[in-house]
Amino acid sequence: MTVPALEVEGLRHSYGGDRFALEDVGFGVMPGAFTCLLGPNGAGKSTLFALATGLLRPTAGHVRIHGHDIADEPGKALARMGVVFQQPTLDLDLTVAQNLRYFAALHGIGRREADRRIETELTRLSLFERRAEKVRALNGGHRRRVEIARALLHRPALLLLDEPTVGLDIPARRTLIRHVHALCADDGIAVLWATHLIDEIDPATDHVVLLHRGRVRASGPVAAVNEQAGCATVAETFDRLTTAKPLADVEAAA
């Protein structure tokens, strides 16, 4: 059996106190799968990302990237992971190429090889002509594309994106979603795409992990999850599983 690109197991996290931001969260993302981490605001998505990238250490449980536990082998895990954070993280006063070279250097990729990969990734996103411009001169959609190009420079097997379409207009969103789907289909990259926007899910191909109040309410291919919840669409499933009903009701319904 192939090793999952991302394996989350028994993950719990508390920022102190009795309230858990995440509780017993477990799921896997296989190579080539586009998985949507779906959940309303405050469901624990960003906490999950901070744990998966090693910025936070979990209270309990494991996150493994291609079998490497982020807590025990952070170097090996991080080398196989590309991340697009929710907040923009480019240096606005540096050029596109300077930003990308900096990131490549952080992964030990030298100047010549970095420039080759930068050309490949930027060309795929039709931004190569703008490589010498300062990021400040780019619009939000283009900045996001640069961040995706950046996250791919070290050829990761897993791409994590935390609400990457926030603040983008509809065409920019579509471009982004299409591009990342192509990465899964063509390059076999595993993707975890956090969102609260249901229309970003392609019901034909995608998997979903539905997170609500720090717990996984459903996970699997879209069709299977809908069937399990007794709903026709993801939107219905989402509504049914994330309404603020007492937990017992939700479980009875599911």
Partner: protein, 275 residues
């Protein structure tokens, strides 16, 4: 694959180090106001403050000086220290900013160990401060202040060490400051005491004349020893006590800084901003 740790060979570490330093230098070069500010501040002190004090303040012959010196000559090492002090705090500010804006996360998603990344970032800041000092020394020379010909070279090791100490101090502060808005307080409670309670403006023996307590405070201030290290290095000499204190303080601050950024403590213990 010939790898040391984490699958990246020694070359990979070097590439990452260069990349981190280059980013700091590029960011500095792109922010012209910052460069000007870094230069104008010590020059104002030199041209206005020192010129005015020249008449009022006589300085006895104390090592490393071999003759009577004008006040401008005395104050130069202190102003070099000031450049590095402000640069260290600026580094701290940009680190808090990076953390608030999220770009600190990019640095920390490198597969290299966190301690190495933070030290590289620290050295990047030191390189920037050395560039600022070089520009300052050039103007000092053009202004006609007499320094040994080799001073810019002999002072270099002292600049590296003092820069590391102040940069590490900045990092400690950055790891304790939760919000950008709190930064002004740091300037008041850290920068001003460090600078004024030091040998930057007056020799310590003058402080002793002014009062025992003042002298004690100045003697305990690591910045005093940074300034003295620079003062002696400008004349090709090593002040052993200053070297010991600055080295010790650097190690202490660096250890605290790396501890402040450990993953168990998170990026601070703040919850992420959303979902």
């Amino acid at each position: 694959m010939n790898s040391l740790v984490n699958g990246l060979g020694a070359k990979g570490w070097w590439v990452a180090f260069q990349g981190i330093v280059a980013r700091e230098v590029l960011r500095f070069v792109h922010q012209r106001e910052r460069f000007l500010g870094a230069l104008v501040r010590p020059l104002v002190w030199l041209f206005v403050f020192a010129a005015g004090f020249r008449a009022a303040l006589g300085i006895a012959i104390i090592p490393p000086y071999e003759t009577y010196i004008p006040y401008e000559v005395y104050i130069v090492p202190g102003l070099i220290g000031m450049i590095q002090l402000f640069n260290g705090m600026q580094g701290s500010l940009s680190m808090v900013y990076d953390r608030e804006m999220g770009s600190m996360r990019v640095l920390l998603t490198s597969p290299l160990p966190r301690g190495f990344l933070l030290v590289a970032r620290l050295l990047g800041g030191v390189v920037v401060s050395v560039l600022q000092v070089a520009a300052f020394l050039l103007i000092v020379r053009l202004y006609g202040i007499d320094l040994p010909a080799w001073a810019p070279l002999t002072v270099l090791p002292a600049l590296l060490l003092n820069g590391l100490m102040l940069g590490a101090l900045g990092m400690v502060l950055a790891s304790t400051i939760r919000q950008l808005e709190n930064f002004a307080g740091v300037m008041n409670f850290v920068v001003f005491p460090l600078f004024f309670l030091s040998s930057a403006l007056y020799p310590l023996y003058r402080m002793e004349e002014a009062g025992e307590l003042l002298w004690w405070l100045c003697s305990l201030n690591p910045f005093t020893h940074g300034v003295e290290l620079i003062r002696f290095a400008l004349y090709g000499q090593v002040d052993g006590q200053a070297l010991a204190v600055v080295t010790g303080a650097t190690l202490l601050f660096a250890a605290l800084a790396v501890r402040g950024y450990s993953p168990a403590r998170g990026m601070g213990s703040r919850a992420p901003s959303a979902g």
